[in-house]
Symmetry: C2
Subunit: 419 residues, 2 copies
């Protein structure tokens, strides 16, 4: 295992040296690199798709399931999307160097904050090859050097895409080690990476809960992580009937396999009769399996009685649990107990209820009269998203460029000494 | 050790439950608690001083050194300072609930950020009993419940002060577990605390490097930490002579034992003759031991030749290392290699040099024409300081109330569903 440790040390030293130059690289140099990468992808379309075919063939031989093969697959359209996302990142304002809150203090000095990169990021991901480009681009734009570690299923695709990244970076005159790809599939490399606190400033794992938990447990480096998305929609007693039906339906059925889908619907007892029968009918017509508390189960013989486990479950599927509660406090307590802290929404026309909900509910996103499906970096205007954090430390909710930065203090004086 | 684990679990559960109510406590309730604590201290002055005498007597019996006994000592003046700092925290604006950046997005939803507490803080400190009050007050004001663990030397003083905290909290109608004191001196309790990631959101160790390193190494909870303060003052070729002399002298000699004191002076070769002889004379007259590079050592036979180790050393004493360098790049490289990332200052009248220095130097505080001694939460206008972070993740530099908070997203809609 010494050779793996040496590999990570070398990558770490390279990344740290690259970060020293990248943190003061001009916006133009960083944008040039991104445009170059996009051009490289366009020019090397055929070889990228060929590499991807190799991964797909290997995956089929290994018997990978269809959903995983779909995530792995690249075609012309997906490459166009990757190029388009690079262009979007070029168009985002450069967060680095922004000076805010520069104010005079009683001593006469001016004190402000300057936004700076974190330094060296480690990104660990699974089968989606587009993450190679996305992660490299977001780190570059935010002035961070990055060490990438993709999944073994996508090894050929990742190498082909990474070749474009490296070309694009060097063409822009930046240090080639601004982005590096770990090219061993030895799992020990991940463990060494997440423990390399001398070199890595933060790790972002992008993948399933198993990956994220394994990384968090062995990490010595700070991890920006996303665990479950057990999101709740709460229909208050003062909910508008049509808004409640539209939002609750959309929050579950827009897409099933996403972390911002509502998994549990809470309904105030006094709103049940005017809202729930219609909503249940719509869910059932759409093919959603419903698991309700005892009161809910009485509303239709097609509703399964929910178990305690249901309230803890992120279905990521066409399944919804429903609970009728008798007060807003009960709803907030349910959320406190079962939510993963991702996203919760209240449907209400009542000013005080709305105000209370956004104050008391402790989740990364808290909404009034909107679908939980909006919890997303693009919908929030961040312009890009490298992940969603369910932590509170450093960054919470959708993570855009700013989540990859820190702020240092700057002090401007004119010969000032302190008493 | 099971009983210690159980103790921390109980404290953690209590703290988490208290945090649920504290996060939406009104500003008035939190301020009332702080005022009550101040009144309790005033009313119990005699018994606090008696408890402190007990600690001092025990300390003397154990042969504690004078500096430590001084840190441990309370008298009427120091109690007045503690009361005054409580009043200052009362007067600070409540950071919690502040909504910023609330903007309409193309979908029609409004998205903003709301400042919220981190949740449960753990504060581990050494012999200064005032930290019991300071830390409890800052955590309360920022809506965090707190578990305090003071040093064994101050056990009687801390209990006496903590009794005031508990009284003050309950008199204000807040959950008494908003602040808890660990009342065993078993060291295992610290290890359990910093690993209790189910209950604790962040740990702040306040003490020497040994304590901070030990905690960081065993922590599973995020740590806001402060390691060395190896601060640099760089006198540029275009420095104003008098400003350079005043600032460099002040930055070293204002106080020796503080983390923001300059430990290494870098001087551009072309500024040496007009600045360094006068400055050296002032330092020597003040009794500062000087350790210089070979060129510097030639300027006075009272200057000791510095070793490699000197550039790595935080003296915290009347000692200064001095190095003459030939370019600004050399100065920046020296800082990159030896600085602890705390505070660095450039003395220059040159616009481009100043601009380059604050951009390229990667430290928590970067200054132009000001003494490194200004690196302090009060001087920066934070109103209070719970510590100084030399990390980049979450918070950097002096940590005030805002460093104890996070931001969640809030979304306001009017029946909005996502496509």
């Amino acid at each position: 295992m010494d050779s793996i440790k040496n590999l990570i040390t070398t990558l770490g030293e390279n990344a740290k040296n690259a970060a020293k130059t990248l943190r003061s690289a001009t916006t133009m140099a960083k944008n040039s690199a991104l445009i170059n990468i996009a051009n490289q992808i366009k020019q090397n379309r055929a070889s990228i798709l060929k590499a991807n075919k190799q991964d797909l063939a290997n995956g089929k031989n290994k018997g990978l399931e269809a959903a995983l093969l779909d995530r792995l697959m690249l075609d012309n359209e997906r490459l166009n999307d990757i190029v388009e996302s690079l262009n979007q990142i070029v168009n985002l304002p450069d967060p680095i160097g922004e000076i805010t809150d520069l104010k005079y203090q009683p001593s006469g000095i001016q004190v402000g904050k300057m936004r700076v990169p974190l330094g060296v990021m480690g990104i660990i991901y699974e089968s989606r090859p587009n993450v190679t480009i996305d992660a490299a681009a977001l780190c570059l734009k935010s002035g961070n050097s990055v060490i990438l570690r993709g999944g073994s299923e996508a090894v050929y695709s990742n190498h082909a895409l990474y070749a474009c990244v490296k070309q694009g970076i060097t063409q822009a005159g930046l240090n080639e080690n601004c982005a590096q790809l770990i090219d061993t599939q030895n799992r020990e490399a991940v463990i060494e990476l997440v423990q390399a606190s001398d070199y890595i400033d933060a790790i972002i794992p992008r993948g399933g809960k198993g990956l994220v938990e394994a990384i968090s447990n062995s990490a010595k480096v700070p991890v920006i992580k996303h665990l479950d998305g057990i999101c709740h929609t709460y229909i208050d007693k003062d909910a508008d009937t049509q808004k409640a039906i539209n939002i609750a339906f959309n929050a579950k059925t827009r897409r099933y396999g996403v972390c911002n889908a509502t998994e549990t619907l809470l309904v105030h007892a006094s709103a049940v009769s005017r809202i729930l029968p219609e909503l249940i009918a719509q869910y059932l017509a759409k093919g959603v399996e419903l698991r309700g508390c005892k009161k809910t189960a009485k509303l239709s013989n097609k509703i399964i009685t929910a178990t305690e486990q249901d309230w803890h479950t992120e279905y990521l599927d066409a399944i919804l649990s429903i609970r009728i509660i008798n007060s807003m406090s009960e709803a907030i307590n349910h959320i406190e107990q079962y939510s993963s802290g991702h996203t919760e929404s209240i449907i209400t026309e009542n000013y005080t209820s709305g105000r209370r909900f956004i104050t008391e509910v402790d989740s990364a996103s808290v909404m009034i009269n909107a679908s939980t499906g909006f919890a997303d970096g693009f919908e929030y205007g961040l312009g890009a998203e490298i992940g969603i954090s369910t932590d509170k430390f450093h960054v919470r909710g959708p993570v855009g460029l700013e989540g990859l930065t820190s702020q240092k203090f700057i002090v401007l004086g004119d010969g000032h000494t302190r008493k």
